[in-house]
Subunit: 330 residues, 2 copies
């Protein structure tokens, strides 16, 4: 049975929404969840969630890392922080992976501290599918590494390809490099240099540069960029979907005799499918164990769906392939 250590104290709505989502996840997905954090606070929330016979453990942690803290300093100075205790559970072999809606940087630092990176990976990077718009297109780096070197982008491409194939089920995934024109000389310096590296790499299926307006209509499966651009891009997509669907909904009252409730249901469904909460988390690729990070503002539904994303990756055994592949490229 898949067993996930959940940082119950991480996120704007912790522990209430985290506990509620974790209980739903354990129930719906048939997994075991260890909730890590303040025992009293978690117990109070667990009572509301009435987990019944579900396998939901409580692992006490005495401290918490806040969003405004320096991640390296906080991880090192707070051994009892919930994210540290959760990562140690995984490092010690009690759980298969960690999920946190808390401080992303702290999650990364803690994971590196407790179980380290895969050999050949200089910078672990988060990967997410582009919502329901293109479920088979994965964005990497979705928001961790704001400064990269060209060879980091090549490593992201390799990791993304393995993830798209082994967890995403995409056959022979195609790689696109996010840029501002299709020609190899378009982009900034790092991207232009990365283009040459990607083109020369024989172990990936490189399709060249991909532009913002083409990515959804393209046939690529992995979109490679630095974490600054990736974060802006992903959050922009979220914002545009929200804003545009509101504009569509504002049309409805203008149509006389509209059987509106049915249409409204379809639109609500479209909104739900394209909400990041439907995926819940990004998988942080390149670490020795599975790590999943989500928005700080996540609610229970994002936690529940994040656990589904986590279960999918863990059961796919993608990390074994990733280890072999990345070590072969050293």
């Amino acid at each position: 049975m898949v067993h996930i250590a959940v940082d119950a104290m991480g996120g704007d709505h912790a522990p209430a929404e985290i506990v509620a989502g974790a209980v739903n996840g354990a129930r719906d997905l048939g997994i075991k969840v260890s909730l890590v954090g303040d025992p009293d606070a978690i117990k109070a929330e667990l009572e509301k969630a009435s987990p019944g016979d579900l396998i939901v453990d409580l692992i006490p942690a005495s401290d918490v890392i806040r969003f405004n803290e320096n991640p390296v300093k906080a991880v090192r100075s707070k051994p009892g922080a919930s994210i540290n205790v959760a990562c140690r559970l995984v490092a010690d072999g009690f759980a298969d992976g960690v999920l946190t809606m808390g401080h992303t940087g702290a999650g990364l630092v803690s994971a590196k501290w407790f179980f380290g990176s895969i050999q050949g990976v200089e910078r672990p990077a988060p990967i997410v599918p582009l919502l329901d718009l293109r479920k088979d297109l994965y964005l990497i780096d979705a928001g961790a590494n704001t400064e990269v070197k060209p060879h980091n982008l090549l490593q992201f491409a390799r990791m993304g390809a393995v993830y798209a194939q082994y967890t995403g089920g995409v056959n022979q995934p195609r790689i696109g490099l996010l840029s501002i024109g299709s020609e190899p000389n378009k982009g900034n310096k790092i991207v232009r240099e990365a283009f040459a590296l990607l083109e020369a790499a024989e172990d990936i299926n490189f399709s060249g540069n991909i532009e913002g307006h083409d990515m959804l209509a393209s046939d690529v499966n992995v979109l490679v960029c630095d974490g600054f651009v990736g974060n802006v891009l992903f959050k922009t997509i979220e914002g545009v979907i929200d804003s545009l669907l509101s504009q569509v909904e504002a049309i409805l009252p203008k149509i006389p005799n509209l059987p509106s409730s049915l249409l409204k249901n379809h639109l609500d469904n479209l909104r739900t499918k394209n909400d990041y909460a439907a995926i819940g988390v990004a998988a942080l690729l390149g670490l020795q164990r599975p790590v999943f990070i989500g928005h700080g503002r996540s609610k229970a539904v994002a936690v529940r769906n994040g656990l589904a994303t986590a279960k999918r990756m863990i059961t796919s055994n993608v990390l074994d392939v990733l280890r072999t592949r990345m070590e072969a490229c050293i």
Copy 2:
């Protein structure tokens, strides 16, 4: 009467769509248009467009700069290129501004060559409103300068504020810096350093960092970023709108008894309003004369609407204010 020199040879659909759009623009907007390019080709298109009594001049140009050419080399080696002849018309005082759907880099180089930059502006930058989603939010740099220094971003902020106020009619425009978190220490190195400069600048109204999912719901009027990120962001918005509206349209047949034609009209209207062709061009701010650049794939409607954008900027006399403001900051 506003008089715009149009590069009739620039763009994927030149000269046919350029001429057709220019004629429509002259008719609808009451402006004078000089079409610059191959006389025979333009004449043939003009006959189809039947401009009648409209003030549409034909200014011969013997050469053209293609999208795959090096802009500096091409501008210097082809004095008779349509973009050069168009810029010279403006430099010599015959026309008020230049519009091109051709090679953006060549347009910038040619404009710099013929009339130069405003004192105090190191890098001219294109500005566009975020479509109909947020008409009063202007993105600068929308795609020209892929490598910037922090002080370039400060200059973009100043130019954007003047444009938003004097051309866009926004009272006391608020400036946001595009980043990946609201705290000053979020972003990449350049953005973090730019944050300090923007915060220290007393002549602008700085609102701090703005994230991708917040920009449309925020109250900022100018969104500052480098041209790589700006181009990715703007084109991503275009792609998401297109994809999402297609998803909405795909719902319609599923609703029984839907008065669908009316709803379809509203959706078509939403698509048209949010199409970049509704704006047509970006204004290239920081040059001594008005320069407007659009997508290479522009059709007649984008040219027509681009001329409206151009007329608005030219009649607002924003460049006089910009000159004073930027020179004062040297």
